[in-house]
């Protein structure tokens, strides 16, 4: 008989025993599982599943040990100078420790607020931290990641202004504009590029989407660009790096309308690209056009403070095809990591961290700039990323670096001739930087 409900051996994840299953089937009033499956076309029931047999926990650990060993990481002796949207930062023990709390990890979205005050209060703290960092009025409880937050922010600007043309500054990461393209493709939206030094923009733009520090690591003149947007009836959407906000002026100071960021630098492992969390903040006036979950403070029937999901009429489960976004499951747990991280670093820590990244990156840039054949291509102020113009093709240089257990910067020769985008954070020691500089010098034109 194909149906094997009574023969499969028990698994640690499945408690029911054969006799309990038989008892339950009896209570249901059937004598086999198949009697419950009659709606499924018989010819397609119980197909062959060509998968390996299950593994014990110990065997599984061995399998994963070998997978992990095939990757080059700091634990296998590599140093890396990659950034471009994902950043290496030290993660404090407090973040890892709180992430062990199963009460946070294994809860669902807080649909029953009385049974989810932990998740909800953390979400409220998260919104507060996003507002404090960006100096914006309101924030949501998080988006999938930075690029989707940016894409949704531009679409929100289109709703707010009732315009359909979105401007994106030319210095923006393609990962942001590509995601925007995929998100807006069938919504009658046109995306146009705005030159970083533009003094004039079309008068029908919904927004200017700005990244600062931009893809090349440099601080944009957010104040000027925001004014330019406003003078033309457009909003300004600014995508920031949250680490840089420990040092550089916050977008809220410049009358920016919507701010987004990749939250990963704030205590989240790089993990080959995810999961991360998108930060999303805006002016209070636009709140009803904001996508995503929002947590609000209220009181219970006894007058005690509590928290609950709020402004839900924007969302898909109520508004369906007229919702501000389709987002449902988001990134609450990553938001928890960001919240614990920000609470741990605190006021002084965020400042010190930004300064450390700045100092190290600028030291590295100065040293590289001294090398024959290499030059740092920087026109303004950069934070912890900068473009190096290399004496030979960056992929060749990276190949040679790799032999020395160095993962070089990102090859951006498609956007800057012979360009390599180098990132230096607090996780690189002076010795690491010096090793990188020496290796670059040795490789030079020979690559």
């Amino acid at each position: 008989m194909a149906s094997s409900a009574h023969t499969s051996p028990n698994h640690p994840y499945i408690p029911s025993t054969d006799s309990e299953r038989a008892e339950m089937l009896g209570a249901i009033g059937v004598d086999s599982l198949d009697a419950l499956l009659e709606d499924i076309p018989a010819q397609h029931r119980h197909p062959k599943l060509n998968l390996a047999a299950g593994l014990s926990e110990q065997e599984l650990s061995t399998v994963f040990g070998s997978i992990a060993a095939e990757n080059a990481s700091p634990s296998s002796g590599y140093i890396s100078f990659l950034g471009a949207g994902s950043y290496s930062h030290y993660i404090p023990s407090t973040v890892r420790s709180i992430l062990q709390r199963g009460e946070f990890v294994t809860a669902y979205t807080p649909y029953q607020p009385e049974a989810a005050q932990g998740t909800l209060q953390v979400g409220f703290e998260f919104q507060t931290i996003v507002c404090q960092l960006t100096e914006m009025e309101v924030a949501n409880a998080g988006m999938y990641d930075g690029p989707t937050a940016f894409a949704e922010a531009c679409l929100m600007a289109a709703r707010v202004t009732k315009r359909t043309k979105i401007g994106v500054l030319s210095s923006t990461d393609k990962r942001l504009s590509d995601t925007l393209l995929a998100y807006s493709k069938y919504q009658g939206i046109e995306i146009v590029e705005v030159a970083a030094d533009a003094t004039d923009i079309p008068d029908d733009l919904a927004c200017i989407g700005i990244q600062s520090p931009n893809f090349f690591g440099e601080i944009e003149d957010v104040q000027r660009l925001t004014k330019l947007a406003h003078d033309n009836g457009a909003l300004s959407v600014v995508h920031v790096n949250p680490t840089a906000l420990g040092m550089f002026k916050a977008p809220g100071e410049f009358d920016v309308d919507i701010v987004t960021a990749e939250g990963q630098p704030l205590g989240v492992p790089m993990a080959f690209g995810g999961p991360y969390v998108g930060l999303f903040a805006c002016k209070k006036a636009h709140i009803r056009q904001m996508p995503g979950r929002i947590i609000g403070r209220t009181t219970d029937t006894k007058g005690r403070t509590g928290y609950a999901l709020t402004l839900q009429t924007r969302e898909q489960h109520i508004r369906r095809e007229r919702a501000t976004s389709n987002i449902c499951t988001s990134t609450q747990l990553i938001g928890l990591m960001v919240t614990v991280y920000a609470a741990t670093l605190g006021k002084q820590g965020m400042k010190d961290l930004a300064s450390l990244c700045y100092q190290k990156a600028h030291y590295a840039a100065a040293e590289i700039n001294k090398l024959d054949g290499y030059s740092v291509k920087s026109s303004g102020t950069f934070f912890h990323e900068f473009v190096v113009t290399c004496p030979s093709a960056p992929p060749k240089i990276n190949e040679a670096l790799l032999k020395k257990k160095i993962i070089g910067g990102l090859d951006i020769s498609d956007r800057s001739e012979s360009g390599m985008l180098v990132c230096v954070t607090e996780t690189s020691s002076k010795a690491d930087i010096d090793r990188f500089v020496k290796a670059l010098s040795e490789i030079g034109v020979s690559a």
Binding site: L49, L51, E57, S61, I67, I98, G274, N326, N398
Partner: protein, 488 residues
């Protein structure tokens, strides 16, 4: 001065209200490089107003907050459509191995062969389980998987110069993300009715499917927890009209080794790894919503797709890809957990997951049907949708029953969804729960039904013993307070 005690003695002051100037929880190392010039001070900010608290305060604050939650680790959580199963601890541990957690998404492929191999193997396994062999792990949650699937459907029609297909047919029982995703994909949503058995009204579908149909979005099993008996006829109607069939696979926990969606004529589906494949829900994410398609549609998948070549594993962009729907390669460490889950269960174990999930749901249904109405009077799959219509007539709403369950330490079922069922209470026990737990739940539900008559105020005022009683959500929405501020 009297010391006031908050619920359960819990100090719920916010971080900023605990802040004391000069206190710290962390020290950064001193700079080891020569001092560099700072930029113009006009670019710099003075301070970031973040809390100043000690390290112990950080740990105690968040630990205490965690204890205010219900969770799978601590409670039975029969939240329908959400598949709140056991989240194996080994999966968290393995996904946090330094060789997986500390790799950069833009590292050269040769330096991340293990990671790409993992993605490729998971793609293959999901393709085998669903019978749809083209797989991209890029989508970051179910809704993004839906959106990716709809982009694929549109790209397919566009490629055939059949671009007038701008309608998504969606059942009235569908989850809200279905119509929301369809709207994002520029599709007009047309609703197909369910019949009195909870099935798609096939005659209604026949009337609606035509040369404008881009896609039919069907949740399988449906949000009523039912398998669609006319599935083969339905997929044929849609295909005959030139449309594609999209399956919302949020309920895949019923189908592992039971039936393959691809065998039924489904062209595209997504699966929620944070449901069927045991990855923790995290209080609202992160998730992962891989999209699976037929061979024919694989060239449209969002990037990246892991591929095995002569020179090793690479992350590739399909020939006619719908593009990047997010920053990098999807939720990698969630994918790692799901892969660990599939490896741990294997072929037999996965089959057993669905079989046990189905038996448990039917057992609950059988034991409660004399007290609660059923959305449909037939065997269910992995979840059963009850209706509190009878209790409503006796003066107590589904909401009250849901809240009363919390008093017993049981998380509420999904309420008021699907919207076509009056006073819906959607119960999904999952295969993780023992018969004792199911029996306890059944006994509690029966007692609550008694209380509807004997002590209705217990239900109206529930929950009683949680950190808060019912919250004033109307005021929360009318006068939103969304962040700490010095004044509030």
């Amino acid at each position: 001065m009297t010391i006031s005690i908050n619920a359960g003695g819990v100090d719920r002051r916010l971080l900023m209200d605990r802040s004391v100037t000069g206190r710290k929880a962390f020290t950064l190392p001193a700079s080891d490089v020569p001092t560099q010039n700072l930029p113009d001070s006009s670019l710099l900010r003075d301070d970031v107003e973040l809390p100043e608290v000690s390290q112990l305060e950080v740990i105690r604050y968040f630990s205490v907050l965690s204890q205010l939650n219900f969770s799978i680790d601590t409670n039975f959580y029969p939240l329908g459509s959400c598949t709140m199963k056991y989240n194996p601890k080994i999966n968290d541990e393995l996904s946090n191995l330094p060789g997986l957690a500390n790799i950069h998404p833009l590292q050269p492929d040769v330096t991340v062969q293990g990671a790409i191999r993992l993605l490729k193997n998971l793609q293959d396994d999901l393709g085998e389980i669903t019978g749809l062999s083209g797989v991209s792990l890029a989508p970051l949650a179910g809704a993004q998987g839906e959106y990716a699937g709809l982009l694929i459907a549109r790209a397919y029609h566009d490629a055939r110069s059949d671009s007038a297909r701008t309608v998504a047919i969606v059942p009235d029982s569908a989850h809200g993300t279905n119509p929301a995703s369809a709207a994002m994909a520029g599709l007009e949503v047309v609703t197909v009715r369910s019949d009195d058995q909870g099935n798609v009204d096939v005659e209604n579908l026949r009337e609606l499917a035509n040369s404008n149909t881009a896609v039919f979005m069907l949740t399988i099993p449906s949000t009523l927890g039912l398998f669609e008996p006319n599935i083969l006829e339905i997929t044929k109607i849609v295909h005959d009209a030139g449309g594609l069939v999209y399956a919302d696979g949020a309920n895949l926990n019923a189908l592992l080794g039971v039936v393959k969606l691809g065998d039924l004529g489904v062209d595209i589906c997504h699966s929620n790894l944070h449901k069927t494949f045991s990855t923790p829900h995290g209080g609202g994410g992160p998730g992962s919503g891989p999209v699976m398609v037929t061979n024919e549609l694989a060239k449209f998948l969002p990037k990246p797709v892991a591929v095995k070549t002569d020179v090793g594993y690479v992350l590739a962009t399909p020939e006619m890809s719908v593009g990047s729907i997010n920053g990098f390669h999807g939720s990698f460490s969630i994918a790692a957990r799901a892969y660990a889950y599939i490896k741990a269960l294997g072929q037999e174990g996965l089959r057993s997951v669905s079989e046990n999930a189905i038996i448990s749901a039917n057992y609950i249904q059988a034991k409660l049907r004399d007290k609660y109405d059923l959305a449909a009077d037939r065997y269910c799959m992995h979840e059963t949708v009850l209706s509190a219509a009878r209790q409503k007539k006796r003066g107590v709403a589904g909401l009250d029953i849901a809240k009363r369950l919390l008093d017993f330490g049981i998380h509420a079922p999904t309420m008021y969804f699907p919207m076509i069922v009056d006073e819906a209470l959607m119960v999904e026990p999952t295969e993780s729960e023992s018969k004792e737990t199911l029996d306890h739940f059944i006994a509690v539900m029966r007692q609550i039904d008694d209380e509807v008559d004997s002590a209705p105020e217990l239900l109206h005022d529930a929950p009683h013993d949680l950190p808060v009683t019912r919250l004033d959500e109307a005021t929360a929405a009318r006068k939103p307070v969304l962040r700490w501020s010095a004044e509030v």
